[in-house]
Amino acid sequence: MPPKRKNHSAIRVEEVGMEVDAVSDSGSEDEARRRAQNRRAKPQRKAKKVSDDDEDEEDEDEAPRKKGRRKKTKPQDSDEDDEEEKQSVKRKTSKASRKKAKEESDEESEEDKKKRRKQGTAGSKKDKEEQNKEKGEVKGKQGKDKGGEKDKKKKNGKISSSSSSSSSSSGSDEESLSEGEMEALKEQVEEKKKLIATLRNKPWRMKRRLILLKEAQEFVEKFEGALGKGKGRKLYAYKVMMAKILMGLPYGSIPRKTVPREEQETAMDFSVLNDFGVRILAWLNLFTGYIKYSFLFYGYFNNNRRIGLLQFRLPLSYLLVGVGIFGYSLMVVIRTMARNANEGGDGAEEGEFTFSWKMFTSWDYLIGNPETADNKYASITTSFKESIVDEQENQKDENIHLRRFLRVLANFLITCSLGGSGYLIYFVVKRSQDFAKMEKENLSWLEKNEVEFVMSLLGLVCPPLFETIAELEDYHPRIALKWQLGRIFALFLGNLYTFLFALFDEVNEKLETEKSIKNATDWAFEQYYTNYSSHYNTTDVPPPNVHPADVIRGPCWEDAVGIGFVKLIVSDMQVTYLTILIGDFARAVIVRFLNYCWCWDLEASMPSYGEFDISGNVLGLIFNQGMIWMGAFYAPGLVGLNVLRLLSSMYYQCWAVMCCNVPHERVFKASRSNNFYMGLLLLVLFLSLLPVVYTIMTVSPSFDCGPFSGQGKMYDVIMETIEQDLPPFLANIFTYATNPGLILPAVLLMALAIYYLNAVSKGYQNANLDLKKKMKIARDEEKNRRNNKDSTNEVMKDLEDLLPNKSLIPPPVEEEPHPDVIVDKGAKSPKIKPGAAARGVNLQKDVSLAAPNARAPVTRAPEPRRGPPGNARSPQPGPGRGRGRGGHPSR
């Protein structure tokens, strides 16, 4: 019944509402299924309908319009079809399976053949009556979903029904089911499962989804049982290693885990808190206390090769984890970048969809706050207006020399301030090293934390300074933002590296003092041993009984580096929080409440509310992460500290933004330049990786501190493990692998691979460009053709296409426009297309927008949606062309 079928598919499509390409696959599937159903479901249609109507009565009552009602009837129909199908299938299968069972038993082994056949037919006859009911139903389901594969499935349905029936009669002859059929059935079950899994991604009404889900589930249930799988898997719980094992011995057991005697009094001394009365500041001073000797720092871990029952290799795992973190971070960053690059966003050229994107993707559906919504409206309107102006000002040119001069000047100023900030940090760090040699008591808080303070202050002052200087340059805001970000990046990086170099100086100094202390300790031990043996006259000398707190110890530069970074992070946190408190909150309070008694409008003009600077904050996060990467090796606790910091700062900043900030005037979403920020992150990661790896490879660790004490270099731990714990042939392999003779060719090979891949990607790029060009040409041609044609009628178009060499036939009205079309197409800028100006905002000085008019289609009567007659589109060749070429104002 073809008409009915058509109707069905039409309704279905309407219900989904998207007969467009998106769902075409599912649409065709539907139709196929429908066809299949109708084929078999003729007889009972009427009868069924009556009973089904009951259920849907309510729906129909409520459906207020014809269209609505038509939709309503749809699911009902499908229900009805289901039932019919089931019944018809039932009948079919009972017959079919009987036959099938016979065939099957034929295939069985020769000996049992006769017996089996009897049994099989007798048994299956009985069973089939019962089982087919189920099977038939299932088959109906299955058939409903994939009409296209109907036949195959039917067969499968038979197979399974017969197989189960014969198995019930003759015990277990599941193998009798041929492999292929089994596979097919499995495939279907998989398909159904896939449908269940992807159902939520389908643009269907919930009602339909629920129905389909039920069917699919029933199908899977039935057949999965028959296939004997899907019993569910057990989950095994893993026992987590205990912190005690990981950490080794508890506090107080070895010197590095104990506060030294002379510091024990001050460790709990919170009096420093009162210096400033700010509780947070206590953090900085607490480092002289317990924290310095806690697991936060490198020094807490000792150099026992194995710890505990599990023979946990602490030094080795310390190194591997430290390096592994870098490897993992690199991988994650690069993977994210690759995904971002793939996932659209960067696929389109800048400016290809300026207006449409603004139109369709600029509203943030998350907005639920009236004020935010108002802001968004305003910002969208502004951005549209800006785009319009941009469009009009494309051709504008000004005094280029002045602008160049200003840009050079701005860059000069910024370079100066960058250099200045670098020098300042270097100076301060040097000074702090002098301070460190002095007595702690004589130093004020400021002197102790000068470095961190200055660094944070620079990070605070410089960005606004840069912004002010950047005003000179007069870039487009988007470009200006990139410059600004780049400069801030340079500033932060420069500061960080200066800090690092100064720190290296300190490390070298500490290494010197360490040497002398080591000698002194050795000497003391020697003295002790000689004294002891001479005193008691024995060679069996017990180790000296010294409390861990009293042991002489070296300066432990690793701890110093770790402490440096922790201090940096903490002070950075303080400065950020204080800035928000003062710069945003206090300002907002003043602006809000002083506004009642002030001579000008504080809210609208001068101080106004603070703006939330998204890009600056993102950059701050990136640098924070960089510091963590750098510091984490020497202060493992930094990671935890940072998590706390990020959490608290999220809520704090959220509060600040909600209560005292106004949105940035121009909103540049971070997501727009997704990979820009990720690229920065990658760079920072790389730059923070360098010093850490450098120290691991070259600087010798402290002799009495940390997991690597006693080693010549940190990576010796790996060598040691390879030599001692791995079988000798593996050790050999490692020796060969680390041979420069092998490494050099490998590097060479990689370089060549990079070169090759680069060339390939260039080739693809060119091909891409070529295709784009072709697409553009095709598009333009298409447009021209349409516009130059007498009728938009499809039939006429087709007829026209059939004309021999139609380009030679002159258009009926006039032929002049043709050359114009060609000439102007070449000349016009790609962005500007016809139609814009014709619609006509009054675009005075605008040449570019007017020009395309002439190229625009001329030879046919204006369509209804075209602009008013009398503009360049109407067939008035003379003035139209003149305007296009001369660049006079279009009106």
Partner: protein
């Protein structure tokens, strides 16, 4: 009322979980929200699948939709009757499509439907004008509106029929960097 009562059977909940991007808890919360809109209309007990529709005026008053310029269109799009009367199924459907985990393809389809004001399966200039007016609260002059609409058509209309078909729309939106993050309602 007031007693601990089952809202959905386990089966129903599981079905919803399979058909949407929500967890059990979220579905129950959605039901709570749905019921909040019209307490006298929506029963607590949904085990027998009552056929209830909440009128659009109530749906639109939800804080999630209240400020959205396209709220009426959204509600109409997701309601089965096309008028905005939403059953609980439609309601869940709507927030499932808008939730963070729903894929780009699905969101694109629904976005297209939302912006297709006259439901002719094409976004024509008229639709664009309506969209723009809603988006800017009518702050642009008619000339500007017209210019912007034409520009958008120029950019996105690949087949040159002066209206955006779904494939045009998809092509344009698939490259948009902000679409996924913006076409998202959290509930």
């Amino acid at each position: 009322m007031g007693n601990k009562q089952t809202t959905f059977t386990d089966e129903q909940l599981e079905a919803f979980q399979d058909c949407t991007f929500f967890t059990r808890k979220e579905i129950l919360r959605l039901h709570g929200r749905y019921r909040e809109l019209a307490p006298h209309l929506v029963p607590l007990d949904f085990t027998n699948r009552p056929d209830i529709r909440v009128p659009p005026t109530l749906i639109v008053s939800m804080p999630e939709l209240k400020e959205n310029p396209f709220r009426d269109r959204i509600v109409e799009t997701f309601s089965e009757d096309g008028l905005g009367n939403m059953s609980f199924n439609d309601f869940v459907d709507m927030f499932s499509a808008f939730c963070e985990t729903s894929p780009r393809e699905l969101k694109t389809i629904y976005a297209f439907k939302i912006y297709d004001f006259n439901r002719d399966s094409f976004i024509c200039k008229e639709d664009l004008q309506k969209t723009l007016t809603k988006l800017t609260k009518g702050d642009l002059s008619p000339e500007e509106v017209s210019l912007v609409c034409d520009k958008s058509l120029e950019e996105a209309d690949l087949d040159g029929d002066h209206k955006l078909s779904f494939s045009d729309f998809e092509n344009m939106v698939s490259k948009a960097p902000d679409f996924l993050s913006n076409f998202h309602i959290r509930i």
